[in-house]
Amino acid sequence: MTGPLLRLTGLTKAYPGVIANSGVSLDIAPGEIHALLGENGAGKSTLVKTIYGLVKPDEGTMEWRGAPYAPAEPSEARRTGVAMVFQHFSLFDALDVAENVALGMEDPPPMRALATRIREVSQAYGLPLDPARIVGDLSAGERQRVEIVRCLLQDPRLLIMDEPTSVLTPQEVAILFETLRKLKSEGTSILYISHKLEEIRTLCDTATILRGGRVVGSCIPGETTARAMAETMVGSALQAPERASRPEGPVALEVSDLTAASPRPFGTALREVALTIRAGEILGIAGVAGNGQDELLLALSGEMTTAPGTILMGGTDCSRAGPAARREAGLLCAPEERMGHAAAPDMSLTENAFLTGETRQRLSRRGFADWAGARAFAARVIEAFDVRTPGPGTAARALSGGNLQKFLIGREILQAPKVLVVNQPTWGVDAAAAAAIRQALLDLAAGGAAVIVVSQDLDELMEVSDRMAALTGGRLSAPVPAQGLTVERIGLMLGGAHDMEAAHAPAREGAA
């Protein structure tokens, strides 16, 4: 076959107030892994939604193998051979893997046959999955496998992946890449969206960089540097986080012998977790989501109380205290899930600022809320953390992921915590915003606060942490100094790749 698999010519899409795509043209060759790069809001989502038939362009055309291509809806795109793995999974927790896969199919085969197919495809591509398992019990990495296998069952010619590695361990990433390379060798094209530039350098054949809805560059990632790509993305020189050397302060938070069942039906219990963190220190906690991260956060934030004496704040026992009392004592948290946990989606930023700011910012008097004060506090967060939004009156739901995350991290940082615990602080956040958040965490520690960063992103942890520990199966390893640690070493601390294996020999049966 000659010519591109998919050619986009002059695609333009405007929404009220923003031009999401402006004259975007690009070619995707058969069997090519094509990276799509850009900050949040650069127009990547709109572009892939256009390809997937979710968005209709105002101008411009698409050609599929030389023929005009204008899918009216995703099912048409899927019939053509386009499949997409979304960043946010669309799975039903209470159903099993096979049922979830069947729900995404136009014409699902009988369950038994489908289960066999799932097993075959997942084995062939090194993504083992038990079709009978309930999705609620799966880790984020395993959920992603369900999404990928769901796509592979359609035998796609073009697979679109939106931020696929943000939930994976290094070993899982390596296995995913093998899977993608195997697909590529079979002639499948992949459109790969990621913020992780090093990954793109090792995986992708070509890259198209978007900024403000326009194509601002394209390159062969293997032949350029991550820094150069990042600077094209942002449009200016990038600042690497700076670390000041910090003197050791007094013990800020001490957790000992913390054992607690998960309050959630599909959660992981914490087992004998112990850690000590000093003022001015950043402790990184590595691990794949679903290994007790949420539970640790709940135990620290006070949403879940634990046995007396397990959590000491500056020497005072606060294991039985609720969230408000802990905030008063200076222990602040920023949970992973932005919508519905850290923030109420339908409430304004002002109200969301009040949500955690009430106690420490003195935003209420005799029980009555000081909304003017809350608005001013929200405005300060917006200002200090460069949150792009019309103003504090905007609903949290209307903000992009990166902007909301900046707001939520900023909301805690501006309350001058003594101890700040953040879970996945840069999940789904673009490079510039992620750098800003990391810098803010470093600055906070430099100012004398103790910071615990729970993250799946090892590069991030290496960048900010003084010491690192790994959380697996609800157990926390002993923290070790971060300096001199290698990614491989941490991978081993995490206890291997969680039953993943590299794509192995038998070719995909029944593949066209």
């Binding site: 005009p68 009216a72 519905g340 109420a344 609903a395």
Partner: protein, 361 residues
Amino acid sequence: MIRLERRPQPSRAWTWATPPLAVLLTMIAGGALFAALGEDPLVAIRTIFWDPLFGDFASYSRPQLLIKAAPLILIATGLALGFRAGIWNIGAEGQYIMGALCAAATALAFYPMEARWLIFPLMILAGMAGGMIWALIPALLKVRFGTNEILVSLMLVYVAENLQSWMALGPLRNPDGMGFPGSRNLSQYASSANPELVAGTGAHWGVVAALLAVIAAQVLLSRHRLGFQIRLAGQSPRAAAFSGVRPGLLVVLCMGISGALAGMAGMFEIAGPSGRVSIDFNVGYGFTAIIVAFLGRLHPFGILLAGLLMALTYIGGEMASMALNLPAAAIQVFQGMLLFFLLAVDVLTAYRIRRTGEAAS
């Protein structure tokens, strides 16, 4: 093809536009219903919505508006607090009955003492306490044992109704009533009466209380920490827990407040318009208030308007069934339509309608 598309944030304009639209649609569909029954739809609609206020017999029916609206508003305001927080008190009818019984029992215990300054306030307190205790049963069971407050509060309505019959026939029966069921008439006992405050308006102390409740609820929801916690818990329970809301406390508070307001409504009713404890003095205000709460968008001022509108359809419906010989069931269908249309057009606040053409490819 028509498609619903989720709005980035709920539309403020539609939040306020949907109730009038629902009323309009109800008038149209109701008019069609009345036409099918062989009545002139315009006359029927006028009889229901216009005549009670401005018709020939308005001087009789106009005071009824406030008399009927006050308990609805009082109860619905309390219910809305719980509903906002995702706490479903369906048993306001039972709490209303218990409030009335406690208030009546208090008054009758003092009979025939002349001490309005003591007895009337005591009755209010007793009414509130009765309703509150009845509502706290499902609340505490929910907090302690995780029972479903919808079922428990609803079933307690039937318990309350049986207590009411027993009281009317037994302990509270009028000793001078020659064996007829029912208590002494509290509205004729000077210390307990809840009279019309301004002649010809129907306004009694319950109307004042309803207005105060609406204002207090509005202040609570918009200005107070508890109101914020109620809204937060209803929208995002996990964010509420993160913020430090104690769900159990919220259940107890919301159920307690709504029970107390329902009990208070029962007190004003039994001391005024209804007058005596009979086997059937309750007319379903507790259930209708659920409709009023939703018709008013769970918003205190909305509930004020919705309560008046609902009272109007009651009075107008009664007039229509008498004047035009419409069956009572038709009036109930008409009232049901109102809630149906409200919930149906409610979709427009969170979604917008998009027309998508069939694109050929």
